[in-house]
């Protein structure tokens, strides 16, 4: 019986490894294709036009990329920061608060996940155009595109962060917190010194999710910009490249470079981590 069990265990073990491997291959298969086609000489996305560096040349010659990239990063960073803080606070409110919260509050917080993105985008468009911008105009100020885009991004990210952190929180071993209370810590100290550190992986996961959602967002961003500002994030820039005409492999070239940049950043981060570990 023991041998059968060990044998079964080994099969399960290998299946798990196999699955993990397959998932990573699945995740990177389209990436491989997109990198490959970034070297295609064709003006069309689906046709291999022979090896060429033209997409990269066209990309570097385009003055609109740098601002678009910068905008994307700023919007993603700021909106992630705000959304992560607000989302974590909400998760804490739901799980640790003594007062009972109304169901309607919970409903409101889950709604941004439920709503189809186009509907949120249109709603925000109307809100910005008919309510918020006129309000600022009345004060003599002009509300530019970046604040409204950031507002849009934070709004759809908060709930995602909340869900991730809350799941972890629900599961947390309360004994550590209780011990801290017993030792005379205030609520705030317990939160800061015990709960939050324990929540770190969840907060990080939530932040990653929010960052990714922001970088890749199109509809909310597109409908939140002001008219005529020329404000573009990377997805908007790519949308402009696509147009009514062909989709050039410049898009792939850009995506490949973004990939390289991210890999470089991660490698750097890991190196730094290793150094600090040694020290």
């Amino acid at each position: 019986m023991g041998r059968l069990r060990r044998w079964a265990d080994r099969i399960i073990e290998s299946l798990l490894v196999l699955d993990t491997l397959l998932v990573y291959i699945f995740l990177y298969l389209p990436i491989g294709v997109l990198v490959l086609y970034s070297f295609s000489a064709s003006r069309y996305a689906l046709v291999w036009g022979g090896f060429s560096l033209d997409p990269y040349r066209r990309l570097f010659a385009d003055p609109e990329i740098a601002p678009a990239l910068l905008n994307s990063v700023i919007v993603a960073a700021v909106s992630t920061a705000i959304a992560t803080i607000l989302g974590t606070l909400l998760a804490l409110a739901f799980e640790r608060a003594r007062a009972r919260l109304q169901a309607s509050v919970e409903a409101l917080v889950y709604l941004p996940i439920v709503i189809p993105e186009i509907v949120m985008a249109v709603g925000l468009l109307l809100f910005f155009a008919q309510v918020l911008r006129p309000f600022f105009s009345a004060l003599g100020l002009t509300l530019g595109p970046m604040p409204t885009v950031i507002i849009g991004h934070v709004t759809f990210s908060i709930s995602y962060v909340m869900v991730v952190v809350r799941a972890r929180l629900r599961d947390l071993d309360r004994s550590l917190e209780e011990a801290a209370f017993d030792l005379g810590a205030t609520s705030w100290q317990v939160l800061r010194r015990v709960t939050l550190p324990l929540l770190a992986p969840a907060i990080l996961s939530g932040a990653l999710l929010a960052f990714t959602l922001s970088l890749d967002d199109f509809y909310v961003t597109y409908f939140s910009t002001t008219g005529g500002s020329g404000f573009k994030t990377l997805p908007l820039y790519l949308y402009a490249l696509q147009g009514r005409a062909a989709i050039p492999p410049q898009m792939n070239a850009l995506a490949t470079l973004m990939l390289l940049a991210s890999v470089t950043l991660i490698a750097l981060a890991l190196l730094i981590q290793r150094r600090t570990r040694r020290a």
Binding site: Y44, W188, G243
Partner: protein
């Protein structure tokens, strides 16, 4: 970090952003803002305009008339030039979203062909000037078909579709798709007769299993990659595709097709209406217009531009259809209350 510090951070961040952008939100005086299709105007044209008039042109993109109408309807301002298609001009005029044009400020309007002046949607060109035009028909890969399509039957008859199953596509557009079916049945694309629309719907439902997809954006790509052999689409896209592969051809079926125009117009909310007039006039200059046509491969409504247009484009019947065809071409127009019939028919086609 205390809670209050966190909250102050958020508040400061928000305020800071607002402050930052309060300055950036204003528009500079010597800038013109376009809200047009992508890859539509050669950046060289902007440079030439800037050189001559000292005005910077900033382009923003929109990919469909519907998004354009949606944004303008919702109250987005800040645009000076837009390029709506014929039916979009009609919708925008009705909603009071277009500025009136002072044609005395656009002398190059004289260059516009008589045939394209005073069209149904703007009989006195008070709000729009036609810029480019095109047709809707069938594009195909001549190498992959036994014989070129000549009729809508080639896209609708199951007997003819059988061997090309899942290798054909239709435009993802209720008026164009139902319009094609109506044309095949001998009716008008602007029919308001429920029975006719019902018949068109049934035709499309019968066709659906043979389709690869409904596609308005990437059919030219799939045609070039060999995944499609026939596609319902717009003339200029096939003309561009032919540059990549000469086997790609385009035909207007014998029952007729659709004609449409892209127009230059100024949103009512524009703060630079004078300047916009200047730009429109600039775009209507023969050489400028020809430059754009040579790039986009759509025929121009501008007669004076013809000497500057590449001969291969002028003499290409799929770009500039021969004169007898225009009678077979119809404009897709507003059908009033009957639009609900089209909406409903399309819902059924897409939902089954």
């Amino acid at each position: 970090m205390t809670l209050t510090r966190i909250y102050s951070f958020i508040a400061l961040a928000v305020l800071g952003l607002v402050g930052l952008e309060a300055c950036a939100g204003k528009q500079a005086p010597h800038e013109l803002h376009l809200f047009i299709w992508a890859n539509y105007i050669d950046p060289e044209v902007y440079r030439l305009f800037e050189q001559e008039f000292g005005v910077k042109v900033i382009e923003e993109n929109v990919d469909s008339n519907e998004t354009l109408i949606l944004k303008l309807q919702a109250g987005v301002t800040g645009y000076d030039i837009i390029t709506p298609s014929d039916y979009a001009v009609e919708a925008l005029i009705r909603q009071g979203l277009l500025a009136e044009l002072d044609l005395s400020k656009i002398p190059n309007f004289q260059n516009i062909s008589q045939r394209f002046r005073g069209l149904y949607y703007d009989p006195q060109n008070r709000y729009s000037i036609p810029y480019l035009w095109g047709t809707t028909g069938i594009g195909y890969n001549a190498q992959k078909l036994e014989s070129p399509p000549t009729s809508w039957a080639d896209l609708f008859e199951p007997s003819r579709l059988e061997r090309y199953k899942h290798r054909v596509s239709m435009l993802d557009d209720p008026r164009e798709a139902l319009g094609a079916a109506l044309k095949y049945l001998g009716y008008s694309v602007n029919s308001t007769d429920p029975q006719q629309i019902e018949a068109a719907k049934n035709l499309l439902l019968a066709q659906k299993p043979y389709l690869a997809r409904y596609d308005s954006e990437t059919y030219d790509d799939f045609l070039l990659s060999g995944d499609l052999v026939m596609a319902h689409g717009w003339s200029g896209e096939f003309a561009k595709a032919r540059l990549e592969n000469p086997a790609i051809r385009y035909v207007i079926p014998q029952e007729g097709g659709v004609i449409w125009t892209d127009n230059l117009a100024i949103p009512k909310s524009s703060q630079k209406i004078e300047l916009a007039h200047t730009f429109i006039d600039f775009l209507l200059r023969p050489q400028i217009n020809a430059r754009i046509v040579n790039f986009l491969r759509y025929p121009s409504a501008n007669d004076a531009a013809k000497p500057y247009i590449l001969p291969e484009i002028l003499h290409d019947p799929s770009i500039y259809p021969p004169d007898e065809i225009p009678e077979r071409l119809e404009w897709i127009r507003d059908v009033g209350a009957a639009v609900q019939l089209y909406e409903r028919a399309w819902e059924e086609i897409k939902s089954r």
